[in-house]
């Protein structure tokens, strides 16, 4: 699974992209966030701002209950500021 980060979420994640092996018990975005938070405290900091974090799966907006698969491309990013 590919995870992408943008804007200040990328700064906190210290990378714009990473590849992770999806554990069996990670079924949806909520599970993925818990998994990442346990893995490294930088994710704890990112997801402490959960109300600001937008989520996309395969380049479409989803919410935290969205089911994910091992070949998905996930992205976490803050509210957009283009235009």
């Amino acid at each position: 699974m590919i995870i992408k980060y943008f804007s200040w979420v990328k700064d906190l994640a210290e990378t714009n992209e990473e590849s992770i092996e999806l554990p069996e018990n990670v079924k949806d975005i909520k599970d993925l966030i818990s998994f990442l938070e346990k893995k490294n405290k930088k994710y704890k900091e990112i997801f402490s701002k959960k109300h600001l974090i937008k989520i996309a799966v395969n380049k479409e907006y989803v919410n935290t209950s969205f089911k994910i698969n091992k070949n998905d491309e996930i992205a976490f990013f803050p509210p957009v500021t283009g235009g």
Binding site: K4, F6, K59, E60, P78, V80, T81, G82, G83
Partner: protein, 154 residues
């Protein structure tokens, strides 16, 4: 409803409003509305902006803009649409975004153009950072941009 092939481009290069407008004018348009967003010269605090860098999520950006444009095409009778958004490093007064809509009756072009930029501002995955003297800051999302969507609620 016309069959429309919207033009959507994400690019570092500047755009040419005359050229884009000319391409939007079809036989019976009559009315054309543009929104052009540009880099401001300073912050609310009046601090000078040296430059601005725009990043985006390639692939998702184009999808989101196409979604927005398709909603506008369903909602209003329009003839043609173009959306161009620049990315990379930009300087005060530089163009950032062009939204052009042509229609037979002007109110449709006004509303569709306004709707597209309102949705683009809150949904298209672009992020601005501003370089001011000695610092580089990610721009915060504006609550006004989310509130602006309320007018399309009906």
């Amino acid at each position: 409803m016309n069959v429309i092939t919207p033009k959507i481009k994400i690019q570092n290069a500047d755009f040419d409003t005359n050229y884009e407008n000319n391409n939007l004018i079809v036989k019976n348009s009559g009315a054309l509305v543009n929104f052009v967003g540009t880099v401001r010269g300073n912050l609310q605090s009046s601090e000078k902006i040296l430059s601005m860098t725009l990043e985006h999520y390639p692939g998702m950006t184009e999808n989101e803009i196409l979604n927005i444009v398709n909603k506008a095409i369903k909602k209003w009778e329009i003839e043609n649409v173009t959306v161009i958004h620049r990315v990379g490093k930009l300087f005060p007064r530089d163009n950032i975004v062009y939204v052009g809509v042509s229609s037979r009756h002007r109110q449709n072009a006004f509303d569709a153009c306004n709707f597209i930029i309102d949705w683009l501002k809150t949904n298209a995955p672009f992020w601005k950072s501003e370089e001011i003297e000695g610092a580089k800051n990610w721009v915060k999302a504006r609550d006004e941009d989310t509130l602006a969507l309320k007018k399309w609620d009906n």
